[in-house]
């Protein structure tokens, strides 16, 4: 059989499955976005053209949540990246009990984000939580949800504890596979640890880091569970992520307007795709990737 035909056959199952599962919902979404689709109008939704899109684009909350999401993704993504790399480098040495330590660090990855958020919220609860209790016994009175800065810190912390292990394990694995020669040569030449890190480790890790950055930033952008459980977008609307906003639009206990939700999702999708495309182009031009 010719290679070309074989190729098509091999990708066929994947393409079929993806299309089957995503095509129909995607078509529905485009359809919903140009009709007034609510429970009352569900049987025969009226066509409204671009009204839904206009509503979303002129909605203050939409832009606020977008801004928050970008801020959150950038902040949390960078911290997780940094910490993950640092911890991986830290663990890249012979340590007693390293296997066990790694297993402990990986545990938050195995807990569903929703359940983890419930537990974390209780852990910082003013009355019954472990952390405030410990803080109080050393004299610090700190409220985790008092205002925007403290709330932001708390939800960021939850996400960080959950996902640093993800960055860690990938970078750690990569470190393990790096060839020893450049490092040994650097030690012989008397280079400091920092120089070794900067000029050898990081460049060698670049491909891995690229993958990790892409994966983590894409997922952080869709942050939902932590917000839904810990703050519901509060105080006020200041911690609403774009996923949370869209959820509020479509949820039966919220606006429950499927047309608006669909329009918002499509707008966000194109914004992100174009943004990512532009970003990649710029990075390539600057020879960073």
């Amino acid at each position: 059989m010719r290679d070309k035909t074989l190729g098509y056959l091999l990708v066929l199952p994947a393409v079929v499955m993806l299309l089957a599962i995503t095509l129909v919902p995607t078509i529905y979404s485009y359809y919903f976005s140009v009709h007034d689709v609510r429970v009352q109008t569900f049987r025969n939704p009226p066509f409204v053209g671009l009204e839904n899109y206009a509503w979303v684009l002129s909605n203050n909350e939409f832009w606020l949540s977008l801004r928050f999401t970008v801020l959150f993704t950038a902040a949390v993504g960078s911290v997780e990246l940094l910490l993950g790399i640092l911890i991986a480098v830290l663990f890249d040495r012979p340590i007693r009990g390293r296997r066990l330590f790694i297993a402990i660090i990986l545990i938050p990855l195995g807990i569903a984000p929703a359940l983890f958020s419930i537990m974390m919220k209780q852990m910082v609860n003013e009355f019954a939580g472990l952390i405030p209790y410990v803080l109080r016994s050393i004299g610090i009175q700190f409220s985790f949800f008092k205002d925007f800065p403290s709330t932001f810190m708390t939800i960021a912390l939850t996400d960080i504890i959950e996902w640093v292990p993800f960055v860690f394990i990938i970078v750690f694995a990569a470190l393990q596979a790096l060839p020893r020669e450049p490092f040994e040569a650097a030690v012989i030449d008397g280079a400091s640890s920092w120089l070794v890190f900067k000029d050898i480790t990081i460049p060698l890790l670049r491909p891995v880091l690229a993958v990790v950055i892409i994966l983590r930033f894409m997922d952080a952008f869709k942050i939902f569970e932590v917000i839904n459980i810990m703050t519901r977008g509060g105080p006020g609307m200041s911690t609403e992520s774009i996923s949370y906003f869209i959820y509020q639009l479509s949820w039966a206990g919220g606006y429950n307007n499927y047309g608006w939700a669909a329009a918002a999702t499509i707008i966000v999708f194109y914004m992100v795709t174009i943004g990512a495309g532009v970003g990649l182009y710029v990075l390539r031009r600057m020879k960073v990737i």
Binding site: S143, F145, F148, M230, T231, M237
Partner: protein, 474 residues
């Protein structure tokens, strides 16, 4: 870099250990999974509607209401909580004693609290015939098209040979959409003021009294105060908290509340002095430290926790909390110190104080797409009679049934009934059944919580809420 210890030996030892641990974990899991498989109520892949095999006893069935002959299983939907535990006992009773005679078996299907509205909406929109009986909560107005109208069933003496129990009229009204009855109430939830009766001999009647008393019980202003905070605001940006504030507090301040047919007027009234006064009360409580600083993220559970831990002296809460805070094992610090009072309000021109308590109802409706509507109604009808409702109450539910309340057995179980009856009779009002009810309270929650967290001024918050609601209710 010299290793600290001989890694090879340790590695070998560790390897063995981890393999053993992993093996044990896997074995436990497989055993557990096998046990779980056989514990499954319905085996995967099996047909969903399981017809119970007809025992010989059905031969002796004499009177069966309705035209059912073949044994049938109907599915009853609810969400987890004290009510579902209670209804579970009633369902057990039915299955044990009445299932054979009627040929109807009832099975419970639980949807989690959070996703219940979404799941219910999805399955009704898709035309899923199951569950037959759906648990209703505020969605009657919106989902009416997908629910079975019940008037004809209740008016049919063959189907409904009983007399309807003495339900509070507001309770039944809560299930009427455009005059048509779509459901049956099973629980009432009403707002009350919960306070420490050991510390407060006479509960506050007016807003001013409430504010002064709350300040008195806040350590920040009164170092001798036995409690740290005077009043707990349920401040999370959550629509149920908006009901607490936007229903009872706003209503008692003289503001116009959202009741059926009254929605537009309520929206226009959101910038009235009464509304501002109501919002100012909560804003002051939070900003002045009379309510715990975390309270801006509190919902039902956390507000209870603050009271149960003895940290707060008063709060406005749903009556379901009474059972919890009066429970010796759950609230060892305060269980015998709980007082119930109407929501403090404003003094009116005739000298009386205005008290209003928001109330809403849980209940059942029948899925229009169900294939067992008659059987489902048969069960619901039985449920509305006094004996099952009393059983329901004794097990943790709270049916809006005056006949049940009058029963001594009921008061024995629910000591708060005497406290609640006057509130239900005099001050309670039923929420609107407008299809957008959730949206209304979501919007109110958003802006009100912005005000009491200080992100927005009171005037701006109310104006913004009004603007947004005008758009929704046009």
């Amino acid at each position: 870099m010299e290793p600290l210890i001989d890694m090879k030996k340790l590695y070998q030892k560790a390897q063995m250990k981890t393999s053993v641990v992993a093996a044990i974990a896997i074995v436990t899991l497989v055993v557990g999974a096998v046990v779980g498989y056989f514990a499954a109520p319905v085996k995967p892949g099996e047909a969903v509607t399981v017809t119970t095999s007809a025992p010989a006893a059905t031969q002796t069935v004499t009177k069966t209401v309705g035209t059912v002959r073949t044994p049938v299983t109907i599915k009853l939907n609810w969400w987890p909580g004290p009510e579902s535990d209670a209804i579970g006992k009633v369902v057990d009773y039915w299955n044990k004693y009445l299932a054979e005679e009627t040929g109807i078996k009832v099975e419970m299907v639980l949807f989690g609290r959070e996703e219940h509205p979404d799941k219910l909406t999805s399955l009704l929109l898709a035309g899923n015939p199951e569950p037959d009986i759906v648990f209703e909560y505020y969605l009657v107005g919106k989902l009416a098209d997908y629910l079975e109208p019940l008037d004809s069933y209740f008016n049919n003496p063959t189907l409904y040979p009983y007399t309807l129990g003495d339900f509070f009229p507001a309770a039944v009204d809560a299930f009427r959409v455009n005059g048509v009855l779509y459901g049956v109430p099973t629980d009432v939830s009403v707002h009350v003021l919960i306070y420490r009766k050991d510390l407060i001999t006479k509960p506050p009647e007016t807003f001013d009294e409430l504010y002064t008393m709350a300040k008195q019980f806040t350590k920040k202003y009164n170092p001798d105060s036995p409690t740290e905070y005077g009043f707990t605001v349920s401040g999370k940006n959550l629509l149920y908290n908006a009901m607490l504030w936007g229903g009872s507090v706003l209503g008692s301040a003289g503001g116009t509340v959202f009741t059926a047919g009254n929605e537009k007027k309520a929206v226009e009234d959101l910038t009235s002095p009464a509304a501002k006064k109501a919002l100012k009360l909560y804003v002051d409580f939070v900003q002045e430290g009379i309510s715990p600083p975390d309270s801006v993220t509190y919902e039902y559970g956390e507000a209870n926790a603050a009271f149960m831990a003895g940290k707060a002296a008063m709060y406005v809460q749903w009556n379901a909390a009474i059972g919890e805070v009066r429970d010796k094992t759950k609230a060892p610090l305060v269980w015998d110190k709980v007082g119930i009072a109407p929501i403090p309000g404003v003094k009116q021109t005739d000298g009386t104080t205005l008290h209003r308590s928001y109330s809403h109802y849980l209940g059942f409706s029948i899925n229009k797409a169900s294939t067992h509507k008659t059987e489902a109604f048969r069960f619901i009808a039985w449920l509305t009679t006094t004996k099952p409702m009393l059983m329901y109450l004794q097990n943790g539910g709270f049916p809006p049934d005056r006949a049940v309340f009058a029963n001594d057995e009921a008061v024995k179980v629910r000591s708060e009934i005497p406290d609640l009856v006057p509130i239900l009779n005099n001050y309670a009002f039923a929420s609107t059944t407008h299809p957008e009810v959730f949206t209304i309270y979501t919007i109110l929650a958003k802006h009100a919580s912005a005000a009491w967290t200080g992100t927005e001024t009171i005037d701006n918050a109310l104006a913004a809420a009004q603007e947004e609601l005008r758009g929704i209710l046009k």
